[in-house]
Amino acid sequence: MSLATYIAQRRQQKPLLIMAHVVCGYPSFEANIRALEIMEDAGVDLVELQFPFSEPSADGPLFVRANEESLKAGTTIDQCFELMRLATQRFSFKIVMMGYYNTVYKMGEALFVKRLEDAGGAGYILPDLPIEESKVLHTASAAASIDPIILMTPTSSDQRLAQLGAASRGLVYVVARKGVTGGKTDMDDAVVALIKRCRQYTSVPIGVGFGITCREDLDALTGVADVAIIGTAALKAWESGGPEGLQAFFKALTV
């Protein structure tokens, strides 16, 4: 089932879906599984599995450290795909790969798509790969029903949004504010206006991320976006409260 179909089906039961985030191998693969179990129980609809990279220049401090620690512990790409395979077999949510383009470039685009497909992945987010450079990858993934998740941003001109919209499939990731991951964003009128502007240029579902931390944020996005994307806030909850902390975090979000 394609990402767009999956999101459309889920959306019939829920006004706003949730996409959560896990850094592979951080703090450990066992902890990843535990976090995914909690996400499944909380009714999370999509999960990004971040493949750690040594130069995570689009990430904020918390994820930078997570990438670094994971690599220090010896995390390999094989292990990341293995986690993806296990998770797609076991859980009901859809999984997408998140990472940096060099991971894909180094293994080769065709092989990346094949491995993603074999592991049951539905798409990928590569924040440092602009659409001008993604033709080969997008073509290869279209043949395998894997969707590239394209980012639209507050600095994108209408002309640029039209280009991004034309290349979009499966899900569009609207970056709620400038900067890197982590930190707080006010889900105010400006964000709503941005989402509406993006909506004019794409027919695929829209996810919104960067700075979503609480129930109020979800309320603000309900009826405006299709998916709320939660990254740093969940990892923070895990870091300060362990599995129970993560459980409580998602509970507070969904009750």
Binding site: P52, A58, P130, E133, M152, T153, R160
Partner: protein, 419 residues
């Protein structure tokens, strides 16, 4: 050859190297920068203003110095040195920085950020910011902050804020990542003054353009001084900005051999070096906004690098060089830390010149090759920076006991003053 004619290929690509690999949020910023740069490059008044600024502020044109003692001692080619170490702030970095300062003013931005390795680029940027009245923040790996305190001291006293970056291996590449993180937030009022001919297009072209002033001057000067074109031109290559600067004076001369000298660190096979092209350890990848040869593992993660010279301690190389190297237009060699120390001693004693540790890598290769060349052949070395800033590292490397007891005495004095 015009490496910047993209009419037959893709804009910003040199063969398959270069390009723009940045987060979408920077797309508009990089387009704005490219448009402004194209405007400056096609405006003869801009270049005139740039040259005048460097003449009045930085002492350009820098001279070429003949090294008769060293040439005689080696018994081969005549060695000449382009003295970019005589620039204000002590290196070629000021060329690019003053150029980008003019460009930043045209962009209407009031804040600049920069990464720095050895601290020379940070020092130059802080100087430029003070002169132009920009706010300035410099990102520098914590390891480099520790080994280049004199430059940190000057940056701070010139009014810049210096941030010690604690991520990754805490050197130049990590400082670049941190600049990117600042830029994706503050692009509206901030220009990123990238210090070398790396990163996303148009930076490699822009930095090369500003640094081409070295080659323009050098070609004319060496013809006047030596009566002929040089047979070989040597320059050290970290990111590769001083090298592309001087090489551009000779790219169309088929009889001039161009040699880039990388950091061999502890040597080939040691895994502790920063030789991307001279050794066989690098492969093509995409990081820090561009495609080039990187020192990376089979998973695409960057390896630790090492050099006695902080300014050469970098994972990637100028994408233009990846192309020119494959075309056989530039030869790459590496100099080890030990060779650098020996060559520095020799250069100081025979000619009274103190090249920076970075620059000394070029001297190593030239010194190795000069004896194999005829006496009427000409070598030109780009002395990209001066070594005074390296006094702590050099004193350690040369195991200078008098220096150590001086530092101990200073430490005692500060402790007494604190009590």
């Amino acid at each position: 050859m015009n490496i910047f004619d993209f009419s037959e290929g893709r804009e910003g690509y040199y063969g398959e190297y270069g390009g723009v690999f940045l987060p979408e949020v920077l797309h508009a910023t990089i387009e704005e920068l490219l448009a402004c740069f194209r405007e400056c490059k096609s405006d003869p008044n801009f270049w005139r203003e740039y040259v005048e600024l460097l003449q009045n502020y930085s002492g350009r044109p820098t001279p070429i110095t003949h090294l008769p003692n060293l040439s005689r001692r080696l018994g081969g080619a005549q060695i000449y040195v382009k003295r970019d170490d005589l620039n204000h702030t002590g290196s070629h970095k000021i060329n690019n920085v003053m150029g980008q300062g003019l460009l930043c003013r045209r962009l209407g931005k009031r804040r600049v950020i920069a990464e720095t390795g050895a601290g020379q680029h940070g020092f130059a940027t802080a100087t430029m910011a003070a002169r132009f009245g920009f706010d300035c923040k410099i990102y520098m790996g914590a390891v480099d902050v520790a080994r280049q305190r004199p430059n940190v001291f000057w940056m701070e006293n010139l009014g810049a804020q210096v941030i010690a970056v604690e991520d990754g291996q805490k050197t130049l590449k990590d400082a670049i990542n941190e600049c990117m993180r600042d830029w994706v937030l503050n692009m509206a009022d901030t220009h990123y003054v990238l210090g070398t001919a790396c990163g996303p297009h148009p930076f490699p072209e822009m930095v090369s353009w500003f640094q081409s002033i070295i080659g323009l001057e050098a070609r004319e000067q060496i013809m006047a001084l030596a009566g002929k074109l040089p047979d070989r031109v040597y320059a050290c290559v970290g990111g590769g900005s001083n090298a592309i600067g001087i090489f551009q004076g000779f790219l169309s001369d088929d009889n001039v051999e161009l040699i880039g000298c990388e950091a061999g660190g502890l040597g080939a096979g040691s895994n502790l070096h920063a030789a991307r092209l001279a050794y066989n350890d690098a492969s093509v990848g995409v990081a820090q906004g561009f495609k080039t040869y990187f020192l990376q593992n089979d998973q695409g993660n960057m390896k630790e690098t090492h050099s006695i010279a902080a300014g050469l301690d970098y994972i990637g190389v100028n994408p233009i060089f990846s192309y020119l190297w494959e075309q056989g237009k530039v030869r790459f060699e590496a100099a080890t830390d030990t060779e650098v120390k020996d060559a520095l001693r020799l250069t100081m004693r025979t000619e009274g010149l103190i090249p920076a540790l970075e620059t000394t890598h070029a001297f190593v290769t030239a010194i190795k090759e000069a004896p194999t060349m005829a006496k009427d052949e000409v070598i030109l070395i780009n002395q990209s920076g001066r070594g005074d800033k390296d006094i702590f590292t050099i004193a350690d490397a040369l195991e200078d006991h008098k220096w150590k007891s001086f530092i101990r005495g200073k430490s005692d004095q500060y402790q007494r003053e604190d009590n």
